[in-house]
Symmetry: C2
Subunit: 334 residues, 2 copies
């Protein structure tokens, strides 16, 4: 390879047409006769032409790149985050866009830089907290953005997420249908609640509201990610609530530990205690026994986020909030 890259004018010369004609063939923005189109595309193939991204961005004022803002915070389950990220990349490619990865350590400055330098056309922001420092910036930026997750005040923003309140509710309803009267929620590590991460709190609210509606009794507890702490928490819980027969676990890193601890204390699942998890399917399936679970539709959330962003880039109006409905899959733990 190497040597200087093929330019559009070489393609034009080779095909015997004007540079602009090549451009129109490639973009489809003007009608081109079938014959010319074919000749141009042949030349493109023969010469191995690839449009120069910088030149294209400069002339069209569109970089065809979106930013994926992905802080990696403590207590957030990385594989789930990466499912979102992967699906954002895949979806973006379907719109002929690439993805620039922005992490936390530059903070808001990174967003500002990428946007102001026209490096990216728009932003997908993940792992949004209720009171997120990046949110005011997003509102003032010229570049459109879509958030995965909801801040406390989502006005003026486009947000997508799983309806976690409904997910929490669904778990309780399922346990109630199975006849369980006393239930508990083991949620995210306490640091996640303290930080004000929306999805953790909303699940808890959905859980609590449905417990009340259905006339059950229930507690919601944070849950750390280390075996000894999980084990101690379960011991305390079993001790304090001898009637407990249903457990909702919303913590990917801890599900394994929870099952281990129940086994340790001689509780059989689902015989003595029924367990519902909110987690990706692969984790639920890999557990022993395979867990009834509400799946986090990461692929769909990422896809929707990109779709909304593309709509905004086209200048179309989009709904402010999109909540995806959770679905519960029954397996062997309830």
């Amino acid at each position: 390879m190497s040597g200087r890259a093929v330019t559009i004018s070489e393609v034009a010369r080779h095909a015997g047409v004007a540079v602009s004609t090549v451009s129109y063939v490639l973009s489809g923005k003007r009608a081109i006769s079938a014959d010319t189109r074919r000749r141009v595309l042949d030349s493109v193939r023969v010469l191995g032409y690839h449009p120069n991204a910088g030149a294209r961005a400069l002339a069209s004022r569109r970089a065809n790149v979106i930013a994926l803002v992905l802080p990696l915070r403590a207590g957030v389950h990385v594989p789930v985050l990466m499912q979102f990220a992967t699906s954002v990349v895949t979806a973006a490619r379907r719109y002929d866009h690439d993805v620039l990865l922005l992490t936390a350590d530059e903070g808001s400055d990174g967003l500002r830089r990428a946007a102001a330098s026209a490096l990216v056309d728009g932003l997908v922001v993940m792992d949004v907290e209720l009171h997120d420092g990046r949110v005011p910036l997003l509102r003032e930026l010229a570049e459109p953005s879509v958030l995965i997750g909801f801040p406390a005040d989502p006005s003026g923003l486009t947000c997508v997420d799983l309806d976690f309140a409904r997910a929490g509710a669904l778990c309780v309803e399922h346990l109630a249908e199975r006849g369980h009267r006393e239930v508990a929620l083991l949620g995210a590590p306490s640091v996640v609640y303290e930080r004000g991460t929306g999805f953790a709190r909303r699940t808890r609210e959905g859980f609590a509201a449905t417990v009340a509606e259905a006339g059950l009794t229930g507690v919601a507890l944070p849950c750390e990610e280390n075996f000894d702490q999980v084990s101690a928490a379960i011991a305390a819980l079993l001790d304090a609530r001898p009637g407990l027969s249903g457990l909702v676990v919303h913590n990917e890193a801890a599900v394994g530990h929870v099952l281990g601890a129940l086994r340790q204390y001689g509780r059989r699942v689902p015989g003595d205690i029924a367990v519902v998890a909110i987690c990706p399917d692969d984790i639920a399936e890999r557990a022993s026994p395979p867990l009834t679970s509400v799946l986090i539709p990461a692929e769909e959330v990422g896809r929707q986020a990109v779709r909304l962003l593309m709509e905004k880039l086209e200048g179309r109006a989009v709904p402010d909030g999109t909540l995806l409905q959770p679905r519960l899959t029954v397996r062997d733990s309830t």
Copy 2:
């Protein structure tokens, strides 16, 4: 904000200098008097100027973006991968570069496209297999690249990785020092070996070689990531090798299950069985008991990869292979 972005010519006018002077102030490529420099920088600040990335890339033939090629394959522990990725992003920013995220689903075409369109100046390729389809492409590409991991034939490539053979050896040496005579390695899921992933095999080779040298007896087994399978494997192992007293675990997803299974079968760690893990510190610390471990220096690997890539971008020669030395941290499991 919005409105049209501030351009370099507006800065030049505001500061009362030529456009080229502003450019030289910003790039430092020619001497500029202190007075002029100050005036220009003031104007930059006052007007809120950010250079347009596309224009810069076009004129300078440098995008200041590198690609991070990150396939997400089954059996690879995602959090570890993300540690690499994060450190690549952070390191790249220190060289004033951004990172474009390329995933697997486009395959080699994605690399070719990003390189040929001058979207990126160079590539960092992660999760390299022994016989990796991307490797021939990398060799023929004009853009420099650095691999994290070693393919079977690394000639003509720049590779960085932890010295996994040494890591495997280190674990065995440690167990031997503690007096263990019969040891086992629980490695990656079998799919990872079958795929020919270098790090898994090299750990196994280091393990096996050192077992032989030290006159121990040992087996190396793949290890799946699901509790029941781990539990069954451990049961079989304990049964087949009653004298077994040392275990090396090189599988982040399974360490927890391994400990659970040992507990299940009444083996105490480290009393009955000593366990050394090869995994990130946080996983080792979170286990019960906290595990003696060889840490995967993800941060340093990412940093070195970026440093090497930057050297290559500058046209400097760099070593073909860089192996980082592992370090063992003793905790409570041996």
